[in-house]
Amino acid sequence: MGYANSLYLTSAEIGLSITGLVLLLVTAWTGRGAARIITIAAAAALFGALVFTAFMMDDTMRGLAGYAFGDLFRVDAFSSLSKILIYIATIACLVLTPHYFDRRGEYRGEYPVLMLFSAVGMGMMVSATNLMTLYIGLEMSSLASYVLASFARSDSRSSEAGLKYFVLGGLASGIILYGISLVYGFSGTTSYDGIRLAFDTQFNTGAVFGVVFVLAGVAFKVAAVPFHMWTPDVYEGAPTPVTTFFASAPKVAAVAMLVRLAFEPFGGQSGSWQQIVIFAALASIVVGALGAIGQQNLKRLLAYSSINNVGFILIGLAAATPQGASAVLVYLAIYVFMTLGSFAALLILRDPEGDKLTSFADIAGLATRSPALAWCLLALMFSLAGIPPLFGFWGKFVVFQAAVQADMLALAAIGIAASVIGAFYYIKFVKVMFFDEPGEVRSFSAPVGHWAVLALSVLVVSPLGYLLTPWLGRMADAAGLTLFAIP
């Protein structure tokens, strides 16, 4: 094997890192004018990584999973599928961004470079099979995110969001690090396989503390209740394209990292973390739903919606079965498209002067003003609410199927009953757009890229999305099984 193989397996990350560094140099010497070209180059690099990972996925499906650099980094079906989602989401965010900042004259080449570094970090998070790799990947993506959150330098809300995210994110990293030190102390290793072996032989109270701290820190990163408080503020304050990014790619990475952590190193001790996950799942569903009801700001509302969705994802994790892991990935895939679509629609919603329209009053009567946009949002909202035949239903379906198959009927019943609360504000969207009388007439002009992202997302969440299920299901099943194939 040796270095050649390790380099081959990590070539997506290496390629993205080199591209990022080169583009950083380019942007340092060319200034603002080259921002658009750098964006295109970054998107192209991500696309290359996407294609490479897709081919890798094909290999890993045939069982060609492999460790790189000893036991630090692992490429398997699970990591490949997660990375595919991450790269898709990042590319979409790059497409959505320039127009937003162009109007303010704030767009700079650093933005795509930061996105690239964040993507590298996220790739490491999902592939990490050692707590050290995990932490480095996590910090790499987080640091880029803090800067991105405050990228609109002239906007005090953006700076506030960045600072808030940085302080609370730093706290969460500290908690994770503390948990890692405890886990290391009680198992004597940072390797996932080693931890699992050590915990199988001895799992004492101190180790439980370690596990709980690590999971609590990760729960912060995925914005699960009770570690969700930063989400609405950061989502609202950050520039909308950045919010789109936070709600999609890092969410996928953090959830995938959590799933791998739960099933690989802590997989033998599922009894000790299941209760935590069940609580976090139900609390996220309920808090995410109740918190959103009173919101007038659409970005805050979508922040609560993402908390709500994390709750459903965690139900799949709580099942602690290969089906559950597969359900998590399927849900994540659908969630990414629903999120990208919703935010793309929000970004299209701007009046000619470039003022953002982000409250319910601004979309009143949208169905008569811009029927295409309204129908797209209608599909996305009913999909988020999980109403068949839209594709969002399939995500909820597989998650709850996994829970029922794991004999967790009470969890499934309470979770699905609470989803009705969430349906309230999703249908409020539809009510405002379709039932209310339109306010002043505005026309929307948005670049083709925005409409393309929106159209693609709507196509996926529409009933046509079910055509993806054989393919998506097969990959997710393979990915779920790899987590349980650890000796």
Partner: protein, 515 residues
């Protein structure tokens, strides 16, 4: 069956719905009417080619889809009749909205055509999850129909409708997942023969009950219905009363009774209790309504209670009666909503006190209204008589008390319907504007005439409707036989007398006259 008639019945309105989204108002109306009439023609073909007494499931189509899902369609006699009801009412609904809907016509017609697809799909689905998808997807078009084209308080009504029904059905989804897991199949005909453990049956039954009781609707979860009915446009009310309420009853027949017979028997008391309250309570509420649509909506709840009582009688009369009430009520309450719609279109109020003496200036209208009022009361010769009589005969064998209460409901039904009719059609013409209203036009004739004919047909020759479902009801009765309850009015077989009563005892010593 080589010709996939059910799929075509689904595909045509679906294609028309998509077309309507892109068409202007008049064109959308024509397309919608054409598509629904074509579906009606296909429905008639379906009925004519349905082999009565043949295989239980006919016109079956089966195709494996993704992830273990099955696209499985097929109908038995029960589903056939309910599909007929849907395709029969649909063109009438389109006609009813011909002039009254003026804004966003294309979207309106698309929503209705989508409803038709989903209703046919629900009745024809033979896969558990396919059923669920059709069942649940109906929320989206109905939410839009009420919310966009409804009355003044439409937003409250649409929210209530959506959230009530959603809460009911999500629990059913969990139960379905459990069933698919336990039985290893999602095929409805197989599940209808599958015996679940008695303990699990209770929970499954309750989960399904949560959904069907809301859809039915049963007291005390009926409160969405008056709001939704009142606020929906006329055609929306017709679809709600005519077909959507039948989904609850259909659910009981298709799922609760055959799949969980033990639990059904065990919890029949609950259904009886709720139905008895519903019959009396909603009838009394209907008596004091000032709004015509609300009155008819409450009467629907009362009629549906007769359906549930008939279903849980566990005998052939009760089950057949329940089906006949569902079909009859679908026609009659739909027609009554159309009657309200006819005068609403003219005067734009549903308040009973604003009308009066309509039989003077609108005699033809008054005649139709009278026919449907009588049918709603259950006058012999109309559709509802057959159903109510059978259902009550069925339940009489189980419990005299329940029958007594339900029959009282029918008397109250006569009271509120006749009272309504007297205030609207008879008496003096208090309101000048109401007195000037013109009689029915050709379009309204075309709406009410066919329903009147069907109502009379069902009342005079119910055999046409009973025959297709007879063997299915018999099968269901056989399935329920082991758990059927103790009958308190069962025919008691006594010890026969040795001699007939009029037997003249022969004197041993000859007649006295011989002395």
């Amino acid at each position: 069956m080589d010709f996939p008639i059910l799929s075509i019945m689904l595909a045509i309105p679906f294609a028309a719905a998509i077309a309507c989204l892109f068409l202007s108002g008049p064109a959308a109306r024509m397309v919608a009417l054409g598509a629904t009439l074509f579906d009606l023609a296909l429905g008639i073909l379906l009925w004519l080619t349905f082999d009565i007494g043949g295989a239980q499931w006919q016109f079956t189509e089966r195709a494996s889809l993704f992830a273990g899902f099955q696209y499985a369609l097929g109908i038995d006699g029960i589903a056939l009749l309910l599909i007929m009801l849907s395709v029969f009412l649909m063109p009438i609904c389109i006609l009813a909205s011909w002039d009254s809907i003026t804004k966003r016509v294309g979207e309106y017609m698309a929503a209705f055509l989508l409803m038709e697809v989903l209703m046919i799909g629900v009745f024809a689905a033979q896969d558990l999850f396919l059923f669920y998808i059709f069942f649940e997807a109906g929320l989206i078009p109905m939410y839009l129909i009420i919310g966009v084209w409804g009355g003044d308080n439409r937003i409250y009504a649409s929210y209530k409708f959506f959230l009530y029904t959603l809460l009911g059905s999500v629990l059913m989804l969990i139960a379905m997942l459990w069933m698919a897991n336990a039985a290893g199949t999602t095929d409805i005909p197989t599940l209808m023969q599958y015996d679940f453990a008695a303990g699990a049956q209770t929970w499954l039954w309750l989960a399904f009950f949560a959904s069907f009781a809301v859809k039915m609707p049963m007291w005390p979860v009926h409160t969405w219905l008056p709001d939704a009915h009142v606020q929906a446009p006329t055609a929306g009310s017709v679809i709600l009363a005519g077909v959507l309420l039948k989904l609850g009853g259909y659910g009981f027949i298709r799922f609760s009774l055959p799949m969980f017979p033990d639990a059904s028997a065990q919890l029949a008391w609950l259904v009886f209790a709720l139905s008895m309250v519903a019959v009396i309570y909603t009838s009394l509420v209907a008596l004091v309504q000032a709004d015509m649509k609300k009155l008819i909506a409450y009467s629907s709840v009362a009629h549906m209670a007769i359906v549930t009582v008939g279903l849980f009688a566990f005998n052939a009369q009760g089950l057949e009666g329940a089906m006949m009430v569902m079909l009859g009520h679908g026609l009659v309450s739909g027609a009554l909503f159309l009657c309200v719609g006819v005068i609403y279109d003219r005067l734009h109020t549903r308040e009973i006190a604003r009308y009066g003496g309509l039989s003077i200036n609108m005699p033809r209208y008054a005649l139709f209204f009278l026919l449907f009022t009588m049918a709603s009361i259950g006058l012999p010769g109309t559709s509802n008589f057959v159903g109510e009589f059978l259902a009550l005969a069925g339940i009489y064998r189980v419990s005299t008390f329940v029958t007594l209460v339900c029959t009282t409901g029918i008397i109250l039904g006569a009271a509120y319907m006749l009272y309504l009719y007297r205030r609207v059609a008879f008496g003096e013409q208090k309101n000048a504007d109401a007195a000037r209203m013109p009689d029915l036009n050709l379009r309204e004739w075309a709406m009410l005439g066919p329903i009147a004919a069907a109502t009379l047909w069902m009342g005079i020759y119910p055999e046409s409707f009973l025959a297709p479902m007879r063997s299915d009801i018999a099968m269901l009765e056989a399935r329920l036989a082991p758990v059927s309850p103790h009958y308190d009015s069962e025919l008691a077989v006594g010890t026969p007398r040795e001699r007939a009563a009029n037997y003249v005892v022969a004197e041993e010593h000859g007649s006295e006259g011989a002395h």
